[in-house]
Symmetry: C2
Subunit: 347 residues, 2 copies
């Protein structure tokens, strides 16, 4: 058996290696660095091919492909969303992703993205928070204490000056888990028994719940002036978290309107309700927060460019390290027309 050629080998980052890489770099540092990459890519928004993700819905959940390209690199993520999985001991969301060279079409990176999606989602939230949250915000309410919650808390600590998080979940065990995980991380952590308690004194409210239905995590009277709402959990048709009245008195900021109108909180609004695209805020083409009393709402659904940024970040980060292995994934005969000969010689 001839060894496969270099071109046939695709660097692969397993879950194990991703976790090693995170610890090598540091959680907060890595989130901050991914956020910087996302910011760079958002600022060149118009250089990307963009399309709403391609979903395959079933009664059990959704499987999605999220491709994008900047003309030089091509990336996509496979991700599922199965809220019922948790009750069966499985992850609601699992993901992997791929980067390829547009010039040759050859893949250049395959990586787990369950862990990486948690990191890039937190990075995106805190990046947007750094533009929109009120000045000197120090307290964040974290409503929904599932798999994404600790990453969100650390991201806002690292990038937005948050020093106190107030946790609430319908399941107290989830809150207890989050409290335990955030010990000795430099945050004051307060477990709360009600959402009302959690938002007390919070300048930032993050909602991240996973039911596949229109729920009302926040009602209108709970949200005071000047607050920044980071709404993560409403991310597919029929799945929202906020009461419509909150949307109506908020400045609404989105990633990619074409996708957010299908999947985000704003599916509850008219199709022409004004929203502001974050990339335009970042390059100064649109206004972020207008005043101290404005409620700013980041209606986040997650967009392919964020995964692209994360994939490119990982591709660079693993270079010269031992945090990847080589996957014999592409048949690459010496004579490209001689695929059959390659097969016969392998006998």
């Amino acid at each position: 058996m001839t060894a496969p050629s270099d071109k046939a080998l695709v660097p692969f980052v397993s879950v194990d290696n991703m976790m090693r890489l995170v610890h090598h770099i540091g959680v907060e540092q890595m989130i901050t660095q991914i956020a910087a990459q996302i910011e760079t890519d958002f600022k060149r928004w118009e250089s990307f091919d963009k399309t709403p993700r391609i979903p395959a819905h079933s009664p059990h959940g959704v499987i999605e492909l999220m491709p994008t390209s900047d003309g030089e690199a091509y990336g996509f993520k496979y991700v599922n969303g199965h809220p019922k999985n948790t009750s069966e001991g499985l992850q609601t969301v699992t993901a992997f992703g791929l980067l390829a060279d547009v010039y040759t079409g050859y893949p250049t990176l395959l990586t787990e993205m369950t862990m990486l999606t948690a990191l890039r989602t937190a990075a995106t939230s805190a990046l947007v928070g750094s533009y929109l949250a009120p000045k000197n915000a120090t307290t964040m309410a974290m409503i929904g204490n599932g798999a994404q919650s600790e990453f969100q808390c650390l991201a806002f600590k690292a990038m937005c000056g948050v020093d106190t998080v107030r946790l609430y979940d319908v399941d107290q065990n989830a809150t207890a888990k989050c409290v335990a995980n955030l010990q000795n991380k430099g945050l004051t952590v307060v477990a709360c028994k009600t959402p009302e308690d959690a938002i007390e004194g919070a300048q930032i409210i993050t909602t991240c719940t996973a039911d596949k239905k229109n729920a009302t995590i926040l009602t209108d009277n709970m949200v005071g002036p000047g607050v920044h709402i980071n709404a993560i959990g409403g991310d597919c048709p029929g799945k929202t978290e906020l009461h419509r009245d909150i949307l109506l008195r908020s400045g609404i900021f989105v990633e990619y309107p074409e996708q957010t109108r299908i999947e985000g909180e704003i599916q509850a609004l008219e199709a022409d309700h004004p929203v502001t695209e974050m990339w335009q805020v970042m390059i100064g083409q649109a206004t972020g927060r207008t005043d101290d009393r404005q409620i700013t709402l980041f209606d986040s659904v997650g967009f392919a460019i964020e995964d692209f940024s994360a994939l490119r970040y990982i591709k660079n980060a693993i270079e010269g390290t031992e945090y990847s292995e080589s996957l014999d994934m592409l048949a690459d005969p010496d004579d490209p027309r001689d695929l059959f000969g390659m097969l016969m010689r392998a006998q």
Copy 2:
């Protein structure tokens, strides 16, 4: 470091293992078995979610995602098409694919598909040939002697009674390679200097060239009555192989009209030119060949269901064998909400 749970591990078939599997089963046997799976799935056509593939075009080539689902399993293929690659020592087409469980969203198989695509394309061609080719066909002209050619020849031998193949390529080296690879495979192999020479006495004409342009491999006067044309190479917008006049006097058979009208030979015809869907022929809802003098044309572009069939075939074929390895691709903490805890415990 805790070992990843079973659910986090995805069976992976490398190129090396795919080649071992092919030799374990036998090339012709495997093509025949994949064809049987494709036929089974074509016969339940209406149970599949179907969508034209999602392409990312560039001046250099195309990268495509081809998803489909039958409601129980979900599959997709990543495939590129870069005709200019050959001149740079790379494959025109490389591919890999994934199968997932719709109920959980968890991937259940990752596999190379460069080799597998060659096998499933040949299987599809010969399966369709077994329905449409004239009775007692024994000679096939093989025009275009690149990476797909030997697979096509063996598929038509195994499934359609072909005992003689007449080879032609603009590049004589490609023909010489194909001749050499088909020695001692039970076929009479004739190298031809012109397309006219190649089609002499052939009841089946397979065209499989790869230029990304509208070429005319076959002109109208070359195609006599009763012939079956298996047109493989015209498979993206602006890329065709046959003169329009041939199409006008052929019975045209396709996989999925919505995709073929964009990518196939019939992009040269009116959008409402009648075509017959092969799945309807297979279940007896539509007529195949009408008479001995009809020219039948299979305008093949490759469709996601064929990859789905091939993926399911491989998933079954590797069971209980050593032809796969386990890939640590999915983060799967004991408590699904405790992704962060899993990360911390890995420190």
